[in-house]
């Protein structure tokens, strides 16, 4: 049973005190070094006369004095495909992480970091052959936008199949997931509209919301009462100053919040949206393909009719091993977007090979390739996620999120534990992702495991053994010793949703 994020997240006093103390020491050291630099300025970083400094003071302080010390934990290059096992290229630094040199050695690791939920990075032959044929047939890329000559046959098939898969009338595919949100949201919620956004929403949703003329209000994650109050107040109050009614109110949430590993309680939000007649946008970047009995995402998982969600957005990066994003909605909305969004008018269309990868992956998931590969992948990931999460809970780590989510964050709290955990795991052949401020709250640094259908039981058992060893060294067994029974019992929440 992992912690429900919406429950009391009281962080023990000792942990928060020592974490703040850790930051305090780091910042003090940083400031002392800044003062030295004022006295002995570095030629490399001086600004030419007459110009303002290129970077603002605080941005630069955080980067140089905090981030650079532990920079080796991120951007680790690999020289294999991002499958269940990867080869990490070893790097060393002679100048405290300012520059890196490759040693030429490759470290084989179990990969608990890549978004390879259904294991398509393993290159199943059905998909690989189709992709290679499409490169031979269409070339490497289209070099043209969808509105001109970039609308290739695989791209058309992808739009049709995506709409069918998610249960909407029509879909529009854009070559990058981030750009899908940032180029379509300004049109979906235009002038005179209000966006009510979850405070934990992804940067692309924030960029898209700010990119248009709509006003934005934010509600605390999972605080549905606050959401309802904001909706009610916005309706009777109307637009600021003029008090004319809002033309549209759009609620934006995600299917799975990847930093919390949590699956949104969609039925509650749909209830609110139906009661007041608002619109709902769900970003299923992490949930499509990864949850639900047939991989159809959060609507299937929460037994919500896709017709009740106005716009379903998702990406092909995580569960389909490709790149790009889609929005699926009514024909009217998609037609409007197709004619006006930069992602379809000006941007180069999704390359035919990457469209084909997504098409073939969808066919496998839907069982249209004639095999049960898709079914197996969906059941594998559910089982793997449950097994690994239970294993972590048993070790006494503080684990967030829902049992069915393949994204499993475990708390480290202290900033120094991030590099410690990451480096110790790397030494033992386990590739993990650690995240801290600003992606997470200041004192809640965490390690985020991403489970794949491509992981075997042996992989996960080995990984758990490594995590056990490292968690003892780094001292993150905050929940103490867990008796066997409670770790393997299914949570009451799980029973309710199934």
């Amino acid at each position: 049973m992992s912690k429900d994020f919406s429950e009391d997240n009281h962080i023990p006093f000792w942990i928060s005190f020592t974490t703040y103390l850790g930051y305090g020491v780091l910042m003090l050291m940083g400031y002392i070094r800044e003062m030295f630099r004022q006295v002995f300025p570095s030629k490399k970083r001086s600004t030419e006369k007459g110009y303002a400094p290129l970077l603002r003071d605080f941005d630069d302080f955080y980067t140089r004095r905090l981030y650079y010390r532990i920079r080796d934990c991120w951007n680790r290059p690999i020289n294999t495909r991002p499958a269940a096992h990867i080869g990490v290229m070893e790097r060393t630094s002679d100048d405290y992480n300012i520059t890196f040199k490759m040693t030429g050695k490759t470290i084989p690791c179990i990969n608990l970091s890549s978004y390879n939920y259904l294991g398509f990075a393993e290159n199943p032959p059905y998909v690989l052959d189709a992709v290679k044929n499409s490169i031979k047939k269409f070339g490497v890329a289209s070099c043209s936008p969808k509105s001109e000559f970039g609308y290739t046959a695989p791209l058309r098939k992808l739009e049709q199949l995506t709409a069918e898969f998610v249960g909407k009338e029509s879909a529009l595919v854009i070559g990058m997931g981030f750009a899908t949100n940032s180029t379509t949201l300004p049109l979906i919620a235009g002038k005179g509209s209000l966006i009510i956004s979850d405070n934990l929403n992804h940067a692309s949703l924030v960029a898209g919301s700010r990119g248009g003329a709509a006003r934005i209000k934010v509600f605390q994650h999972n605080n549905f009462r606050q959401l309802e109050n904001i909706v009610k107040k916005s309706i009777w109050e109307g637009q600021p100053r003029t008090h004319t009614p809002w033309s549209r109110i759009l609620i934006i949430v995600e299917g799975i919040y990847s930093m919390e590993g949590e699956i949104i309680n969609l039925s509650e939000i749909v209830a609110i949206k139906k009661k007041y007649g608002c619109l709902l946008f769900v970003d299923e970047a992490h949930s499509i393909g990864a949850i639900g009995k047939t991989g159809r995402g959060v609507c299937e998982y929460r037994n919500v009719d896709p017709k009740d969600v106005d716009v379903l957005m998702g990406t092909y990066t995580k569960s389909f091993g490709s790149i790009g994003g889609y929005v699926a909605a009514s024909k009217e909305l998609i037609d409007m977007l197709r004619a006006n969004t930069g992602g379809s008018l000006y941007a180069t269309s999704l390359a035919p090979a990457t469209a084909q990868q997504a098409v073939s992956a969808l066919e496998v998931i839907m069982g249209r390739d004639g095999s049960n590969l898709g079914k197996k992948a969906i059941s594998n990931i559910a089982e793997n996620a449950r097994f690994f999460r239970a294993g972590l809970v048993k070790l006494g780590l503080t684990v967030y999120g829902d049992d069915a989510s393949p994204v499993i964050p475990a708390l480290l709290y202290n900033p120094a534990k991030m590099p410690a955990f990451s480096r110790e795991c790397m030494k033992r052949g386990l590739a993990v992702v650690v995240v801290g401020y600003p992606a997470t709250p200041l004192i809640e640094s965490r390690v985020r495991f991403c489970i794949s259908a491509g992981h075997t039981r042996e992989d996960l058992v080995t990984a758990l053994e490594i995590v056990k060893e490292v968690s003892e060294i780094v001292m993150i067994r905050y929940e103490g010793d867990i008796p066997d029974e409670s770790a393997t019992k299914k949570s009451a929440k799980e029973k309710k949703t199934q």
Binding site: L54, P77, A83, G139, E148, G211, E332, L345, T354
Partner: protein
Amino acid sequence: MASTTTSFTREVWNLLVSNPNDILDWLHKEVTGNPVHVTVEVLCLVFIFYMWGMKPHKRHAIPPGEEPTREEKDELIRNWKCAAYDKHTLSEFEVEGEKEMVVVGYEGNKIDVEGVGLCKDFSTFNHLGFATHDKVIKNSLEAVDHYGVGSCGPRGFYGTIQPHLVLEEQLKKCYGTQAAIIYSFQYNTLASIIPAFAGRSDIIVADKGINMGISNGVFLSRSKLHWYDNNDYSQLEEHLKSIAAKQGANPTRRWIVTEGTFRNTGEITDLKKLIELKKRYKFRLMLDDTYSMGVLGKTGLGICEENGIPTSEVDVYVGGMDTVLGSIGGFCVGSNTIVDHQRLSSVGYCFSASLPPFSAVASSTALEIMSESSSSIATLRKNCLTARLCLSKSGLSFTNSEKSAIFHITFPASSSLSRPAQEETLSKIVADLLSKGIAVTRSKYSLSEPFPPKPSIRLTMSAAFTESEVRESMTTICETVKSAMAK
């Protein structure tokens, strides 16, 4: 620490409880001995109590007293209706009944359009044919075998795959800069970079001709914006002069944002003039040179190479891999400071999946071939000249810049047709040319465009055609356009 706190508390408690007279004596001593100190302390205490007692200031959208009653609120909520998404009504940039072209294959320099057949490609940006080049395809197939398709993560989380590093190293060397960074989508490359270097207190002077991808970035930065007409350097200088004079000795970050070759007009910018102006008035320059690549410069590296100016003179130089390099994605080259900052602060880089490895391999191969053989660039130049000659003879209005491989053919200034009527004529021209086996495109714009350009037919030149093929096709194009515009 806990023990000292306890003992202190105990002492104070003892003092208070044991002998009240001692406290009064102490107070008397303080007040007579340090009156100023006591006054200040008392004032502080009063202030603290005042702040504590103050009710939190509630900002009322509607002043209290004018707020609706509960029944009125309920009625407003009951009656409110969200606007539905109605059947799409065409904007002035769209044409009724215009079909979407579906491409079902390619053959040499022709694209196979569904329902039409093979058409000469005068529309895509595949100027040198790298998207369908044998060696590029071979290397891409090998890369797909080895790396799969997607990178399954952002660069920070094991999404950095060896071909990315190879490509960045290659770009750095080609352009002679300190560092290079690649993005997975060209359209929002500069749009991600701008907000990382310009904020609310900064200034951007932008050319009105920039495409919507860049203008989105300029608006997102929330900087103070100044616009100047396309390639109008005197207007640009006026802006720079007045801003520099106003800011004096306390400059904020100031940027000029423009393109090397403008996608929307095909015109080429005067880089020498830009560099001179930016140095004189102490501005920095952001240049998106995507549409000059493969066209300008001896080895196709763009406008800097063409003018013999080192790329490092441009502070933020952006290019694309989805045009001449025949792949997808964008890149930025510059100093270590510029590039390193983007790795943490550019949203399109940090929070987005990295480029598929096979696309990086394709770009690397294309870049290598392009830098080694300048003969195809020379062929492209010749074809552009041939095209220009045909267009001049026909008397049509088209792009002025001589070296551009993008031609926008517009209506003459004297045309009295409305925009929708012009767009409809252009649409008919495109359909007509398609039936004759020539693929060109009508420039399409969004109703979100800040400065929509004039309606135009856009054709891009390719090195894949022989001189006679170009002449023949251009004659057909010119005749078709002329007769349609004359109606």
